[in-house]
């Protein structure tokens, strides 16, 4: 029973990591950059939803939509202002800019909303289901989190493989120059990628803060770096890889806490990660890069 509840909690945490990792991996695939500000977009989304929830009487679903729309616009703005001028620069230069953006978002949030921790009202209620005479308790939030994550992943996969825009994204990630020659608007495609990634981040923010209901300007930092880890773990650039990586990371984290040690949980999680990468040097589903001479 303990095992079952641990696994469920792990999957719930992991699916949030997975949603965030999707944003990382999509942006990486297309712009070849590590967007370290991605975690902070989650925080901004959560703050928007929090403000909408507490300051207006809108239903939760409307608050989620408001937060998502604002984040989408924010993601595109960040891309336009901070990353686009660096299109021709090295990926490391863009990485540094992303760190600048991350500092900027965190500190702006502190100046606007204050540094105090806020309690987030779970968007899907506080209820729970208990199984096996109360030995396994699953909250509604966990169920909704897992369900929404699965739906979003399916929608995203369909979007990328079936729609024109999605295929344009694939083409750009494959070869920017060739895509341009085929008449694909590269700038627009990159902008759309940031929009989708940020929208996913906002939804991940809603799920994260509903399951773990606190909110502060640094809320996004830790999940952000975990999701980055998950994205690399799954094979960076690969969408199913990000999903698997995220869920596995959540599972490993929770299982190691229960069965090995809580004190050493970081060391164990990262240790397992290293071992897996040694066996599969390009992540679980990463493409083998064949080097040309």
């Amino acid at each position: 029973m303990e095992f079952l509840s641990t696994v469920i909690a792990g999957i719930s945490l992991g699916s949030i990591y997975a949603l965030i990792a999707l944003g990382y991996t999509m942006v990486y695939g297309i712009a070849k950059m590590l967007n370290f500000a991605h975690g902070d977009v989650i925080m901004v989304g959560a703050f928007m939803m929090f403000t909408a929830l507490t300051k207006t009487s809108l239903p939760p679903i409307a608050c989620i939509i408001i937060g998502t729309v604002i984040c989408t616009v924010l993601g595109m703005l960040i891309e336009k202002i901070a990353y686009k001028p660096l299109r021709s620069a090295t990926s490391l230069s863009v990485l540094i800019t992303a760190i600048g953006v991350s500092y900027f978002l965190q500190n702006s949030a502190q100046l606007i909303f204050g540094a105090g921790t806020k309690q987030f009202t779970p968007l899907f209620g506080n209820g729970s289901i208990s199984l096996f005479e109360g030995q396994v308790v699953i909250s509604h939030n966990t169920i909704v989190t897992i369900a929404i994550s699965v739906v979003l992943m399916i929608v995203l996969t369909l979007f990328i493989n079936k729609t024109k825009t999605g295929r344009a994204m694939l083409a750009v990630s494959e070869d920017k120059g060739a895509a341009q020659l085929m008449g694909i608007n590269v700038n627009k495609t990159i902008s759309i990628t940031f929009a989708i990634g940020s929208a996913l981040a906002a939804i991940a923010g809603a799920l994260l803060c509903s399951s773990y209901p606190i909110l502060s300007p640094t809320t996004g930092a830790m999940p952000g770096i975990k999701a980055f880890t998950a994205a690399v773990f799954g094979g960076i650039g690969s969408i199913p890889g990000a999903m698997i990586g995220g869920i596995l990371l959540g599972l490993i984290e929770n299982l190691s806490k229960v069965y090995i040690s809580t004190q050493l949980s970081d060391a164990i999680v990262f240790g397992i990660l290293i071992i897996i990468l040694l066996v599969k040097p390009t992540g679980i589903l990463g493409k083998k890069i064949s080097e040309k001479v």
Partner: protein, 387 residues
């Protein structure tokens, strides 16, 4: 592109040097300035900003009140606060910036590790230091250093004593932050004292800064251990998460915390039913009916966000009044330099008896530790009730 970088570097270096000189220019102000500058470093940005800002605001409130009433020995006072992001390095840099700005007395730093680094510098200069909230033993390891709050060992020992003496439970579990000095400091002494008092510590669970979101594993372990009481020597942000996850998991135990838990009721949008029945040892209760506390709470909330109203702010508020009392006792005057003030205050601190919002009849030993009685409170109907 390389060349451009070179030029950029030169331009920036020039800018840097100019700023340095500009900073120097500021320092040439005569020292005869009648205002007494009291410096403090703390996390004003980043993860722990809420605690640093609370200290800053508490101290500023007390300074404003004192100034309105005529100052200390005729001196007006000013609080200088520098950001240290809770890091030792930041505290050391902040300390030296404060010296440049004319600091003569200090409130140390807000967090333990940073405060120990602050002290390292303060000892060299013989700068008086009264920290509001740094709890580690090392944070005041010097004859120039005192503190307002309880130390880690004191909190750990007192908590175990309280639980055993009041027979709250015999099987106890702990969840602490193994990456935080405050939390591990209390936990260690609690664990040792629990053994002495015959308490059975059935689960010792921890988390780190990297894993402070999901506590289901720890809560599950506490549940299976059959503990009757869960001791939480942690800060309130994480505690609120544990409380809400424990509720979902159906964990039914007594929750017992230390002063880090104070402030939980002030969290924006906090669901107070979560904290129902939580007990904590804290020096400060905002609902206390005495006039001092009432005034403090009224004035603080009038000026600042109520999210910062917690024991950090209260300790800092008291710290300024303690400095006032000690300065009046030692008859410190404006013409004394920082070292002379420190020598006078060192002696005066052990002679005064202080009553403030964080305790009554507090006295200090030469080791810098306050002697005061902790207050145990229980949260009932969303309010602190003194036990």
């Amino acid at each position: 592109m390389k060349n451009f970088k070179k030029v950029l570097a030169v331009v920036m270096a020039v800018a840097l040097i100019v700023t340095c000189f500009a900073a120097c220019g500021g320092n040439d102000k005569p020292d005869t300035d009648a205002t007494l500058k009291i410096g403090v470093t703390g996390p004003l940005t980043g993860d722990y900003a809420q605690y640093g800002l609370a200290v800053k605001y508490g101290a500023e409130l007390a300074a404003a009140e004192i100034n309105a009433a005529g100052g200390i020995n005729g001196m007006q006072i000013e609080i200088l606060a520098e950001d240290d992001v809770a890091a030792p390095e930041g505290a050391q840099n902040g300390y030296n910036a404060l010296i440049d700005d004319g600091m003569k007395l200090s409130l140390g730093s807000v967090t333990s590790g940073a405060c120990a680094a602050f002290l390292g510098e303060a000892k060299k200069d013989n700068m008086f230091m009264l920290t509001a909230s740094a709890t580690a033993v090392e944070a005041i390891d010097g004859d120039n250093a005192f503190r307002v709050c309880f130390s880690d060992p004191a909190q750990g020992t007192v908590s175990a004593d309280y639980i055993a003496d009041n027979k709250l439970a015999s099987k106890v579990a702990v969840i602490y932050d193994s990456s935080d000095a405050y939390s591990t400091g209390i936990f260690e002494k609690f664990d040792a004292q629990a053994k002495v008092k015959g308490l059975n510590v059935v689960a010792k669970e921890s988390f780190t800064k990297n894993t402070k979101t999901d506590f289901s594993a720890q809560i599950q372990a506490v549940k299976t251990s059959g503990a009757e009481l869960l001791f939480l020597p942690i800060y309130y942000s994480e505690a609120s998460l544990i409380l809400s996850q424990a509720k979902t998991a159906g964990l039914d135990v007594i929750f017992f915390g230390c002063d880090g838990l104070d402030g939980i009721l002030g969290m924006d949008n906090f669901d107070k039913t979560l904290a129902e029945g939580v007990m904590l040892l804290t020096p400060f209760t905002p609902t206390a009916t005495d006039e001092r506390t009432q005034n403090f709470v009224k004035n603080f909330t009038a000026k600042y966000d109520k999210a910062y109203l917690n024991q950090f702010g209260a300790d800092a508020y008291d710290a300024i009044y303690i400095i006032k009392a000690a300065m009046e006792k030692a008859n410190v005057t404006a013409d004394m330099d920082a070292s002379a003030m420190c020598d006078a205050l060192k002696v005066a601190m052990t002679q005064i008896t202080f009553t403030g919002v964080t305790g009554t009849d507090i006295t200090w030993g030469a080791d810098g530790e306050p002697v005061k009685k902790p207050i145990a409170v229980k949260i009932v109907n969303g309010e602190y009730i003194v036990m």
